[in-house]
Symmetry: C2
C-alpha cells in the first residue's frame, strides 16, 4: 500500500469536519481555521524519524533541530503564510543524551528566532528510536491561502530553486549539496510574495520529490501535467535526484497562462517546467512518457518510477 | 536526569515567547494564544509510544486510537476548555498493517465525534516502533483558563474520581480497572464546570501520578502541599498505585478555603485530600512523610518514592 492509498482509507474513516471555522481540512499542506480577526490560521504537523528521515551519524543534532522546524515552516510557506508558533514533541532513545538534546533545541531555537516562530509547548518521552513531531501554526489573510486544488488546464507549472540537491547531498555528505541535505531552507518569503501577487492557482512544497508531489497537486486539482521543459537540476545531481529525490523544500506552483511570473525572486530562480492539461485520470507526462508518482514514499520501496 | 530537569534545561535554550498573543507558554497543560474574538485558544501535544506508554499485545488498536486522543483532551479538560480540533501523526512499524490502522482511526474518530473534535490534519510515516503524536486545540473564554500556578497557602487540594485504577488495570487487564487502563475518560464536562464556578485556584490533569503531578503543581505555584486525608483509592488498587501509578486522567485542583466544593459532579466524586502550605522549597508531605515526586517519569526508573 502507498501513502496516498493509506491516506484515502483514513479519510473515509474520519467524521466530516463540519465544525465551525474549518476552511481547509485533510489533504493540503496545512489545515486552515477561520478566525474572527480577518485571518485564517494554518496548522501543519510533520514527523521526523531516525532511520526513516535522517541518520544520526550524518545529521548533527543542531541541524536535526533546525531541519525538523524547517519541514513544518515549508508547509506554511507553501500556502503563503507567516509562521506564528510551534509545538515540538520528542521521543528520545538512550543514545540521545542531554548534550544531543541541548544541541537539537539550540538549532531549533535559532531558526525559530530567525523566523519569529515562538515555541509554545511540546512533549518529551522515551522511545527506542528518535522521533520528532512538530506542529507549526501560521497565518494568512482570510481566504488567501494558496492551495493544491486550484490548477486549471492551460496554467503554467513552475518550481523554485534547483531540484535534486538534497538527494545528491544525502549521498555525498559534502559541499553545497550537503548543505541542501542538512540545512534546507523553507521558502517563506517566496511563498508570501506569490500569495500577494495573486497569480498562483495552486501551490505546495516539494518535500517528497517532484514526481510524487506534482501527481498529488494534479489529483487535488483534478487535472494532469505535461512536463516538457528542462528541469532546474542542482549542479551535479541526476535527473532521477531531481524527479524523485525529495527534501528539496522548494515550492511547486501553477499560474494562469497570462501571468508574468518573474524569472527569479531574491536570487532564487523560478522556472517554468510545463503545462497543466485536462487529461483524465490525473497523471504526469514527462517528455512524452508517463511518469509514475515515484517520489519518496515511506510505505513502499522506490523502484519502477517510469513506465 | 528526570523529565523535570530536562524540561528546565530546554526552556533555558528557547527564545522568550514574546510574540503577540501568547498568554501561556511552556510549562502548563496547554499553551494559550489570545484571539480577537474573546477566546483564548489552547494547544497541547502528547506522545503515545509503543513500549513506553502502551503494549500492542494488551491495547487493541481501537482503544489505542481512543486513548491517544483522550490524553490530549484531558489536558484541555484540565484548563477548563472545550476541544475544537486535532492533528494526529503516526509513525507505523511493519506490524501495524492496514487493519490495525483502520481500527486505530475508528477508535479515534468515535471519540472525536462524541467530543465534537474535528480531525483536521496529520502525518504518516514509517518507524520501527509505533509512535503517535496528537495535538489538540481547544478554547476557553478570554483569560479564564485554569492554570497550575495559582495555588495559595490555605487552599484545599482536591481530586476527581478514584486513583490507581489505571495502574491496577495495567496489571490485571480485566474488569473495571482494565477499562480504566484501556478506555480512560477525559474530564471535559467537569473541567468546564470547575472553570465556570470560578473557585478553582489551580488545576491540572493526573496523567503521571499524584505524587509527581502534585509536585509539579506546587512548583508552578511556589507552594507546598500537605496530603493528610484518605485518598479515593480505586477498589482493589494499592496506595502506591494511587500515588504513583499515572494515567488516571482525573483532575487535580485547588480551591480557596472558603469555597464550597461539591462532593461529586455527575456521579464523579470530588474528594478533598489536603491543604496547600507556604513551606519552601516546594514539596509534598504525605501523612507526615516527605513524598518524593515518584510518579511516572519515562526518563528514570521509578524507585525510592518515599523518604
Amino acid at each position: 500500500m502507498t501513502e496516498l492509498e493509506l491516506l484515502k482509507r483514513i479519510e473515509r474513516r474520519l467524521p466530516d469536519s463540519d465544525t465551525g471555522g474549518i476552511v481547509i481540512g485533510l489533504g493540503d499542506d496545512c489545515a486552515a481555521i477561520r478566525t474572527q480577526s480577518g485571518e485564517d490560521l494554518l496548522y501543519t504537523t510533520d514527523l521526523f524519524v531516525e532511520g526513516t528521515h535522517f541518520e544520526r551519524e550524518s545529521l548533527p543534532a543542531r541541524w536535526a533541530g533546525r531541519k525538523a522546524l524547517t519541514r513544518g515552516l515549508s508547509d506554511i510557506a507553501a500556502m503563503g503564510g507567516e509562521p506564528r508558533f510551534c509545538l515540538i514533541s520528542l521521543a528520545l532513545p538512550d543514545w540521545a543524551g542531554s548534550r544531543w538534546v541541548d544541541s537539537f533545541y539550540a538549532g531549533l531555537a535559532e531558526l525559530a528566532q530567525q523566523t519569529r516562530t515562538a515555541v509554545v509547548g511540546g512533549d518529551l518521552t522515551k522511545g527506542n528510536q528518535l522521533v520528532c513531531d512538530i506542529v507549526v501554526c501560521g497565518a494568512v489573510p482570510r481566504g488567501q491561502a494558496m492551495r493544491r486544488n486550484g490548477a486549471r488546464p492551460g496554467d503554467g507549472i513552475y518550481v523554485s530553486g534547483h531540484l535534486g540537491g538534497a538527494a545528491l547531498g544525502r549521498r555525498t555528505q559534502s559541499g553545497a549539496a550537503g548543505r541542501c541535505h542538512t540545512r534546507p531552507e523553507a521558502r517563506l518569503r517566496l511563498g508570501k510574495y506569490l500569495r500577494k501577487r495573486g497569480e498562483v492557482t495552486a501551490a505546495m512544497d516539494l518535500s517528497d520529490g517532484l514526481s510524487l508531489d506534482l501527481f498529488r497537486l494534479c489529483e487535488a486539482s483534478g487535472v494532469s501535467a505535461v512536463v516538457d521543459r528542462p528541469l532546474p537540476v542542482f549542479h551535479g545531481a541526476t535527473i532521477e535526484d531531481a524527479l524523485h529525490g525529495g527534501e528539496d523544500y522548494e515550492l511547486l506552483f501553477t499560474a494562469h497562462r497570462d501571468s508574468r511570473v518573474r524569472r527569479s525572486f531574491e536570487r532564487v530562480p523560478l522556472t517554468r517546467i510545463g503545462t497543466v492539461t485536462s487529461v483524465s485520470p490525473p497523471g504526469v507526462m514527462f517528455f512524452g512518457r508517463n511518469l509514475k508518482p515515484g517520489g519518496w514514499d515511506p510505505f513502499r520501496s522506490n523502484t519502477d518510477k517510469c513506465d
